[in-house]
Structures are given as structure tokens and as C-alpha cells.
Point group: C2
Chain length 334, copies 2
DNA sequence: CTGAAAGCGCTAACAT
DNA sequence: ATGTTAGCGCTTTCAG
């Protein structure tokens, strides 16, 4: 194995000069730098990660904790992960993958052994068990998602309240006067998954502000449940002409159900949704929607972490503005 | 930070004894071991990963290289990853996530810097560019998937040839005499993705051995293409009563198409498929299928790697036997 | 069964 | 602008 002393000898300089040339932590004459770079290339030198971590107390590795739970849309998790890895690499860091399953002990382990410099935690719950630990840990962390009490933490996510608002606002602008939110399964609200509640709040507040009649309907993630909700909605709210869907698995069944009940989308019923682009785009009538900007969330999370590692101050809360992609499932009221 | 010398002092032994107590590499008297364990717990000692890696030339980290390609495969990739992480942890290793995008340079980097001890590479192509590097690297690796020339490498995957065979054999056993394989898009065969070809080979060989009339039909991943293939099949092969599908995105459209052409499944037409369980289970008629055993592949890949790290010999090729899950889309010929 | 001590390869004061 | 050197915390001979 070729080491820094080999490079130093070959370039006719001291090891520290090679180290500094590599890190850029002090200025090196152009000539020396060139010789060092040539030697490095010629010898195929690669600094030993462990040695580096030991001497500098920086591993240049970030931990990414991913959820395993069902219901979490798997491709979305994957997109986050890819975005985190890609952005981390751009900042000369690698990413260690941890599963939720490892729990607090896993976080403590990778932090305390100095295996990682910092952590990104996905799928944060309202009263997440890991919060006290994350606050106490000596390594910086960024949470994707907002707990009930985010003080003292750094959190980033789509602004779900604004997303709920944007969906209903679009319907209001199109002239709809009676709208409904078809939301996540009841257990999601009970589990206090934050974002579901926030969507409902944004939806209701904005509907009210625009003077619309509105109602909220949790819905199980099955086609049968979708049919049942659609049927009930049409029966109980005959004036309904606008629906916001925040429940990806039932988006397609819902569109089908409404059409089977004789409503044309968007002729008789306009729909907007909060869900990934892919399912929104492949329904019979493509659905106007707000997607979670996974790539941006992942990248920004890494960047926040890098700033924290540099000792720079960062905002505690980062809420990304929703962006509505128009796909034709929402039209002016007949 | 509490270090090994702190523990040693606290327990009244030398640092090396603590180290050996931790690694189990030499025998320690029961009494000493107890004192050491107590001290470790009391002081909250955690060995420094970098120091350990430097002194032992073992980082206890594995690299996992995941593909980035399009949508359909994503949940499967995630399942692999989770299985790899879980199994690696069981062997006291962590997992570093690399994207395909990093290419050969990424592999070389993590190997040469001793950041990882070994590598798992997913989504290996027939003539994968990374093969020469993987052969030359001084760290062991395991490939998920079989390239054209696997000699000198350690590969593991579902036995796709046997999977193709199993699907058609089931149809043969049920009395079907004329069968077709609806396969992957043409470009998949052209890209020489190995497994697609192997499925076709297993299908054709087994059909022939059972004296069946058989044909193979590549199919684009669109509902329209599915309809077209279904229509052509019924026209050109009026005796057809059995179909094997190896093309996840069109499974559902195909079932729909056949039924729209007046064929009942499985009354008039029996279907078996090679695809993940989830899409197979959610079609109108749940489809009898062979799934890629992601959890097992991931776990076995890690175990192969562990054996290689221990210097033990491992088989170059590990082909996992297909298992057919019966779901009712295949029935005896009328 | 246990200790002493020499590194592992690199970084970062401290010098000059 | 560059060199010298003392560690970083652990493992592992070598010795007993």
C-alpha cells in the first residue's frame, strides 16, 4: 500500500506538505503542488480513510436512517436516498445506510464510535422516540419531517399545510364551491404523523377563507374503501364538484369509482392531489398534483448538515414551498 | 471521549487485555472478563471506528452499489438494500451506499481508501464494465446477477432459467399443449441483460421437452403494446391456452386485454408469471408466479462476503431455486 | 492468562 | 512556504 510518506519522498517534500496540498489548509507554491500531484498520480496514492478519521476526527461519512414501515411509499424513500448520496458525494462525503429497525441504539452506535460525522433521519414522527437522543448527541443531525416539538433540532420537509392549501386554492380559483379532502387512513392521523394533519389544516383553512363548503374524509388504502368513500361523498354532498386526494394508493381507484358513478373528470368533478408524480400521471385522467420534492429535500438536508459541520448557523425549520403540476384533472366548474 | 486505556485503568488490566476481551481473539479469565465488561458499561466505552480500522486494517463496512434505473425495479432494490443492511448488522458490519453513477471510480475509491472491506454490486449486466476492476481489486466482492463470463467472480441470483422452466412446466402439468412467453421489451434482450435471455431459454427448452408448441414474444412496457401482443397471439395461435409473462408492467394490462377479448382466466387461458409478489397478487385474477427472492438474495450475498473475508472458499455461482406461488390464474386445460 | 510496546497512516500544532 | 514531530485510539506481535 502506498502511503503519504511514499508520496512525500517521491515528490521531495515532507508528509505534512502532501497532507496540506490535499486538504488545502495552507498555501503551497504552485511548483510544489504540481510535483505532489504528479507523484500522487504516478504512485496511485489514496489516503487511508481510517487513518484520516483517526487523526482528524472526521470520517467524512454521513448516516442516513431510512424507514421500513409499510405505507411509506418505497420509491420515494429510494429517491431521497439517491439524492442524499449524490449530494453527499458532491461534498466529499459518503453515506452509511441504517434501517429504522436499529433504533436509538443504532444512532448512538454510529455516532459514538465516530463512524459518522452527522446524521439524516427520515420519516420523523410527531413524538418520535429518537428526538431526545438526537438533541443530546454530540454530532449534528437533520430530520426529514417535522415532529410536534422541533425546537433545538434542524428539520426540513415539504410545507404540507401549504400543499393542502394549494390544492384547494386551485379548485377555488376554478370556481368550485363545495369541496372535500379524501385523506390518509384513520391510523395515520391517530399515529400523529404530522404531515397528514397539516394537510387537513391547510385544506380546511383555505377552503374556509375562500368561502367554500368543505369536509374531510379519512380513507383506508383499499379500492373498496375508495369506492365506499366516493359513494358516500356523492350521496351526502350532492353539490360537491371538487376533491383533494391525499392518499396515494386510492388515487386510481377513486378516479375509477367516480367515473363509474357517472361523473366525468374533470367535467363534473375536479380533482387535485398530494402524491408522487408517477401515480398522478398514470391515472386514466392524469391528476393535477403536488409532489414531495424528494430530490430537493435530500439535497437540502445534506447541505444543512454540511453547514452545521462547518459550525455555521442554520435555520431550525426549512419548509419547501409546494408546486402544483397541472395535468388536466381540474377544470372550471361547469 | 472514553478510550480503551480508560477502561483498562478502571478494570485494572492492560489495554491489550481489553482489546482481546472485546475481540475474543484470546482467552480471558472469567473474572477479568467480568471486570472489563463492567468497566465498559460503567464508562460507556465505544471503540473508535477509525482507530480500529487503522490498527486492524478492517473497517467492518461493506459497500452496496445500487442501480438508479427507472421506476419498476425500485421497490425491489429497496428490499435488497434492507436485507443486505440487516444481514450485515447481524455480522457486525455496516453498509455504505454507493450509486451506480459513481461507476468504476467509486468502487476504486472506497476500496483503495480502505473505507470498506468488501463490495456487493447489484444489477450486473452481461458485459458489465466494472468486471475487470472487480476481478483486480484487492477486496472481495459479490455480484447480484450473472454476467456473460462469471469466472473468477462470485455471483448470486435467482435461477432465471429454472424460473422460466417452472412457469411453463406448471402449464404442461395442467395439460396445456400450446403456450407462449410474453417477455421483456426488445431493448432488454438487445442490452443483453442475461436474465431475460435465460428465462426464454428455460421456457423454450422445457416446453420442447414436454412436447408443447411454444413461441416467444418480446413486448414493450405499455398497455397498448400488451393489447397488441394479446390480440396477435390469439389470432396467430388459436390453440393457445397457456401464457408465461415475464414483464411486470404489462401483467395487469395483459390480463385485462385477454378478458376483453373474451377469454376467461383461468377458464380459457392459464397464466403464470415471473415478477414480484405484489403486482402478481393485485391483478383482477391473482397470478401464479415466481418472485425474485430479494430477502434471501441479499442475505446470502452478505454471507458469501463474510466467508470470503474469513478467507474461506465460496462457490463462484449461487443460483437460487425458483418457487412458484400458486394464486389461481393457472388451471387444468378445459 | 496477561502485559509492554511498537506501530497502523495521517493530521495539525509548533517550528523555522 | 515548508519541515519536524507528537499524537489520534486501537490491535497485535513479542515476552513472560
Amino acid at each position: 500500500m502506498v502511503k503519504i510518506t511514499d508520496v512525500a519522498r517521491h515528490a521531495g517534500v515532507s508528509p505534512s506538505t502532501v497532507s496540506y496540498a490535499l486538504s488545502g489548509k495552507r498555501s503551497i507554491s504552485a511548483d510544489t503542488r504540481r510535483r505532489i500531484e504528479a507523484s500522487i498520480r504516478e504512485l496511485g496514492y489514496r489516503p487511508h480513510a481510517g487513518a484520516r478519521a483517526l487523526a482528524s476526527s472526521r470520517s467524512n461519512v454521513l448516516a442516513l436512517v431510512v424507514p421500513l414501515r409499510t405505507g411509506m411509499h418505497v420509491p420515494v424513500v429510494m429517491q431521497f436516498a439517491v439524492s442524499v448520496v449524490t449530494t453527499a458525494r458532491r461534498h466529499d462525503h459518503d453515506v452509511l445506510l441504517l434501517t429504522q429497525e436499529e433504533g436509538e441504539e443504532g444512532l448512538r452506535r454510529v455516532a459514538d464510535t465516530a463512524l459518522v460525522d452527522a446524521l439524516i433521519v427520515m420519516d420523523v414522527q410527531m413524538h418520535d422516540e429518537r428526538l431526545p437522543l438526537l438533541r443530546a448527541l454530540d454530532r449534528p443531525s437533520v430530520l426529514i419531517g417535522f415532529p410536534a416539538e422541533p425546537a433545538g433540532l434542524t428539520c426540513i420537509d415539504l410545507d404540507f399545510r401549504a400543499a393542502g392549501a394549494a390544492c384547494v386554492q386551485q379548485l377555488a380559483l376554478l370556481g368550485h364551491r363545495c369541496v372535500a379532502l379524501i385523506g390518509s387512513p384513520p391510523e395515520v392521523y391517530l399515529r400523529q404523523t404530522g404531515f397528514a394533519q397539516r394537510v387537513a389544516e391547510g385544506f380546511t383553512a383555505t377552503a374556509t377563507r375562500h368561502g367554500l363548503t368543505s369536509s374531510v374524509h379519512p380513507c383506508e388504502a383499499s379500492p373498496a374503501a375508495a369506492r365506499a368513500v366516493a359513494e358516500r361523498l356523492l350521496r351526502e354532498h350532492p353539490a360537491l364538484t371538487g376533491v383533494v386526494v391525499h392518499n396515494e394508493p386510492v388515487l386510481e381507484p377513486l378516479v375509477d369509482a367516480f367515473e363509474q358513478f357517472g361523473l366525468r373528470v374533470p367535467g363534473d368533478l375536479s380533482i387535485t392531489a398530494i402524491c408522487p408524480d408517477e401515480p398522478a400521471a398514470r391515472t386514466r385522467v392524469p391528476v393535477t398534483s403536488v409532489a414531495i420534492p424528494t430530490a430537493e429535500v435530500g439535497a437540502r438536508a445534506v447541505e444543512l448538515l454540511m453547514r452545521k459541520l462547518d459550525g455555521a448557523p442554520v435555520p431550525e425549520a426549512t419548509l419547501l414551498a409546494p408546486r402544483l403540476t397541472l395535468r388536466g384533472s381540474a377544470a372550471p366548474r361547469a
